[in-house]
């Protein structure tokens, strides 16, 4: 195993190549891009101004933004930005996958109360979710390239989250949908974007099809219906990710969200502040593919100067709590024979 001397990527990741000088192709490409135009800050400011200007058009709506609110630190900070910095009316939507920690539930309650925002919880049948997680966690159902960005279980979960919040936003005619994606997950150009329904459906198909092929059309309820979205395409919201055009600093984020009553859960792993399933999903991914599924995100943060290399290496190398992994395994065990 070779690790890039500049970031945190290792060559177990299929797309990573480390050269004779010990530097990965992502870092090489990044330095070329930096040389081509070091105007990231100006571009970030432009995106932010564009967002503020667009929001002004919707001041009279009951909700200007629908935020996918996991209760974790990044989506909590995103909510703080939307409310405190931009003064927007926000509806938060939480997708309850059955593995949110008790502290996470308390955090959602406290933060939404503190910031004066409404919350809806979307809670699919746990037995169906558990079957999906067992299936996607134990079989190679998604393309390898997609798995470089997230574990198989997280890919299926996030796919359903995206569909659920988009459906809510379209039904409620909310013009913006927001997620707490970090600058490590999304590039600046994508920090505010309106996607055509055909692109949304094409992306969704990669997640939906293996699941409905295995479990039947009943599971299509957790995804966007093609005909319905086509009929409502004029109401597809703009995606906006304020963390991407903000300065990402984990310490400052934790400090800010504490003011809203948010408390870090003690039973999640290094890369999650809301979900117990994450430890199990990461463990499975690491054991099959030999790398942490957060590797690309963390390396991007390190490369962009938002995180130190040492901190990044710690985040991707520290194993999840074995007792949490055992707990998740025991909860999912009854659903394993069904697949």
């Amino acid at each position: 195993l070779r690790i890039c001397s500049k970031c945190t990527l290792n060559d177990n990741i299929p797309s990573v190549r480390i050269d004779d000088e010990g530097v990965c192709n992502y870092c090489r490409q990044s330095s070329v891009a930096d040389g081509a135009g070091s105007s990231a800050a100006a571009e970030a400011e432009k995106k932010e101004m564009q967002f503020i200007s667009e929001c002004e058009k919707y001041r009279d709506l009951p909700y200007q933004v629908l935020l996918a609110y996991s209760g974790g630190k990044d989506s909590t900070y995103t909510l703080c930005l939307l409310r405190k910095k931009y003064g927007l009316s926000v509806l938060t939507a939480t997708f309850d996958n059955g593995f949110l920690t008790e502290q996470c539930r308390t955090n959602i309650h406290n933060v939404t109360a503190s910031l004066g925002v409404d919350n809806i919880t979307i809670k699919p049948s746990f037995s169906k979710l558990a079957r999906i997680f067992c299936y996607t966690g134990s079989r190679e159902v998604f393309p390898k390239k997609a798995l470089e960005r997230a574990s198989s279980i997280c890919t299926s979960c996030i796919g359903m989250v995206k569909a659920a919040v988009l459906k809510e936003a379209v039904m409620r005619r909310i013009p913006f949908v927001s997620f707490g994606w970090t600058p490590g997950q999304v590039n600046l150009k994508a920090s505010m974007i309106k996607l055509d329904h055909k692109m949304i459906l094409a992306n969704q198909k990669q997640i939906e099809q293996p699941i409905t092929d295995r479990f039947g059309p009943e599971y299509a309820n957790y995804f966007l219906n093609e005909e319905w979205l086509d009929k409502n395409k004029d109401y597809i919201p703009t995606y906006v990710y304020p963390l991407v055009f903000s300065q990402y600093n984990e310490e400052a984020i934790l400090e800010e969200i504490k003011k809203t009553g948010w408390v870090r859960p003690e039973d999640t792993d290094m890369n999650s502040t809301n979900c117990l399933l994450n430890s199990y999903a990461n463990m499975l991914h690491d054991s099959v593919y030999g790398y942490n599924p957060y590797s690309l995100e963390i390396a991007n943060l390190v490369r962009s100067g938002f995180m130190s290399r040492g901190e990044g290496l710690k985040k991707i190398s520290e194993p999840g709590d074995r007792s949490v992994v055992d707990y998740v395994e025991s909860v999912l065990a009854p659903y394993m024979p069904a697949i």
Binding site: P143, K144, A202
Partner: protein
Amino acid sequence: MRSSNGYDLSDVSRESMSLQKINSCVRALILENFVYGYDESQLSDDTSFIQIGVLDSTGIMEMIELVEKNFNITVNDSEILPENFDSINCISNYVYRKLNKREAV
């Protein structure tokens, strides 16, 4: 500038490029910067990036950034469609139309 695949990338933004030349440049860019895990022989001009998991909601934006920077064009939100970005051929045809401004894309 010559890529490690042997393609000349020095004139990628020139409007006079033929479709064939654009196709070669797109192939080189994609192989070098995007689908690293693939051999050239595994990637046909019609291989669907969506099918191989490259063009998910994050990947599409990385792809667009790559195309914008290297061909000196601006991709509008309304042009972010599978038919414009789902394969080497899709991208080549899209870039060709943008560079030559022959028709609305």
